[in-house]
Symmetry: C2
Subunit: 407 residues, 2 copies
């Protein structure tokens, strides 16, 4: 498995265009199309208020996962809380795309992101479909435009690609794009991602492997704890490389590459979190089980007090212990230890042990916390459960961005 | 029951002094003393990382609730995550106070608020005990100084008082002070409150009635969703009015007055939330039960996206539906309705019904949201459960205050 030097995936073409949804003329509509049917899996928001495109895609995939030909994505309007009209619009966006591409009516999935509670401007969507169909291309420039076309408050496009070369010399590629920025919580809030591969997989395989990859990537990131109505991660496999994923070794290699793409995209979402100035990895160990560790890590990652302290460059580790203590799962305050580390290879600075502060050097703690990237390493002293969650700090800019999002 | 014109409670004296904990010379130490033993109840943080004063007070009250004579409170240092030394310091703070007041060693409770993970400056605490003992007074000025002496990032003292006059002309009073500002979550985060009364109640009564009052007041406020290590609400009853609370009618009247004091203090905490510019009541009805309603209301009140939208004066109600949808309890998106209202008497502006926006006037919605005080009224269309939670918005100042709290 190697980082790809090109994003091209055999049989797939993409486009990102401006169809007038964004007032400033920026790219706002993305199309991803395959020259043959794809086996497809989707992971959708757990929010009970589900956007129309989520309801539509889930319905299409429930009828059959093997015939998908394209994904159309618009920004600026989430098509959520839009009732029957919203569902009809999602269906029409899919139908228009299928008609323009000349593929079967039920072979197109749709995604929307943006403001909740407004209806899609269908004339602009139609314009987007027409423009994007005319610009489809398999090259890196088209992939970059596709990644740009799904951005909302994102400041950078998010794209990742891995190539797997097998022992017999055959190879396949996995390329994904994502958008995030705000409303990011455990369970994927306002995360849209499309990942495609030219390997061939069964419906059972895409489902199982996508869920496994999402669990350790998109489900491990927190920006603000809000879970959106629109979260969707799709995996499309068209088999154009002629590589068939069969057997444990093949599956393991595919999962490793898919996870690498997913983790890169997920971490990119956090690094570009709304107003983020800092990337923070929360590594919790010593919990009763992995689920308990994840819950503690999520509680720390969601705490506004922890996040503002990191923004301020203040090594206020007491807030981390306070957050851990209210996570709703067991911890042993006597046995717990807390460290701040600079990176994976750094053992870290021990701040807290035996239920009290160590005699650490405050200047060193501050220096670690002021860096762009920090690891928080908390052992809660109960057992063998472990989990890592990635998050960012909470800044003045987060408040500015979200105080006037609709304007 | 009437709003008191004076705060004085028979047999109680208070003081607020400056003992050097705050660098700027502001009041930082408060003492509340009774001339006779008080029956006392405490409600403490649910955080598993409990501060030393919380552990100490719980231990004292577990040994006996009937002999309490005083409460000493310091700011600037939470005495949390401080291990054996912290516990010894809490004990010493109580012992010093008891010695100075000439009361039994185990009759003093202590509270601390401020930075986590530093040890108490015991020389300053000793100074505070000496100064405060010399200034004890029963008048309103002393109560105001006591309310000021427990403030941290609070911008205003919080004090409330109710007088109950019974049919036979006998009367008693309930006066309470509180501090809050940040780390306020369901279950009382960084809330300290001492409430005293000159009515006589049994240990069973103070316990039961305090828990009932806290449940509909301090447990219904959210500033940032963080729950502190130090939350404590104490109720001290010294019986100096000679009114004995006995029988259902007496208890009901007492509970009503105690609840009124608690709600006033709790709402004052939210109104003075760190950086708050707006008071928001989240009224949820139509839930499966009251607990489900409370969970939905808390999720909305904790959502950074909802809170920043209110700060920006943006009627972005879709974020409220999105927060409700991820609360983890049932709702019926088809049957749900959402309104913004100006006050209790206002039916409110219907924004959302039948799973889509109504044809409301955006200018009216914006006008409601831009006011200092807003009611969000959400019916989730499932059943008869209802709950109200009070919260504030999330502003640039919250980030400024918490980015550099320790400096």
């Amino acid at each position: 498995m190697t980082d790809s030097t090109t994003m091209t995936v055999a049989g797939f073409q993409t486009a990102g265009v401006a169809c007038g949804l964004k007032a400033n003329g920026a790219l706002d509509f993305t199309l991803i199309a395959s020259d043959r049917p794809c086996t497809t899996a989707g992971v959708f928001t757990t929010n009970l208020v589900k956007a129309a495109p989520v309801l539509y895609d889930a319905e299409v995939l429930a009828r059959g996962q093997s015939g998908i030909r394209a994904v159309a994505v618009n920004t600026r309007c989430a098509n959520a809380c839009t009732g029957e009209q919203g569902l009809a619009n999602a269906r029409e966006m899919a139908r228009l795309t299928a008609e323009t591409l000349g593929v079967p009516p039920d072979s197109v999935l749709v995604m929307s992101t943006g403001v909740i509670g407004t209806q899609l401007a269908m004339d602009k969507i139609a314009q987007g479909v027409t423009l994007a169909s005319g610009e489809l291309d398999s090259g890196d420039a088209a992939w970059n435009r596709a990644a740009n076309g799904i951005m909302t408050t994102d400041t950078r496009p998010k794209i990742a690609s891995e190539t797997v070369v097998r022992e017999d010399g055959s190879a396949y590629r996995i390329t994904g794009i994502a958008k995030g920025a705000g409303m990011i919580a455990p369970n994927m809030a306002t995360m849209l991602s499309v990942i495609v591969t030219d390997a061939a997989l069964s419906a059972e395989q895409v489902d199982r492997l996508l869920h496994q990859a999402v669990e350790v990537s998109f489900n491990r990131i927190v920006v603000d704890g809000d879970t959106s109505t629109n979260d969707t991660v799709l995996l499309l496999a068209n088999g154009a490389s002629s590589v068939v994923i069969a057997g444990d070794a093949d599956e393991a290699a595919f999962l490793q590459a898919l996870t690498a793409v997913s983790v890169k995209l997920a971490q990119a979402v956090v690094r570009d979190g709304e107003g983020a100035t800092k990337f923070i990895a929360i590594e919790v160990s010593g919990a009763q089980d992995d689920l308990a560790a994840k819950q503690i890590a999520n509680t720390i990652a969601t705490s506004p007090l922890v996040k503002t302290a990191f923004y301020g460059g203040d090594a206020n580790w007491g807030r981390i212990m306070a957050a851990a203590g209210r996570a709703g799962v067991a911890l042993d305050a006597e046995a717990a230890t807390l460290r701040f580390a600079r990176g994976a290879d750094d053992e870290g600075l021990l701040l807290y042990a035996h239920a009290m502060p160590t005699h650490y050097d405050e200047a060193v703690a501050t220096e670690i916390v002021k860096a762009d990237s920090v690891i928080v390493r908390l052992n809660v002293g109960m057992g063998g459960g472990a989990a890592t969650v990635w998050t960012c700090d909470l800044s003045h800019d987060y408040v500015s961005i979200n105080g006037h999002y609709r304007s």
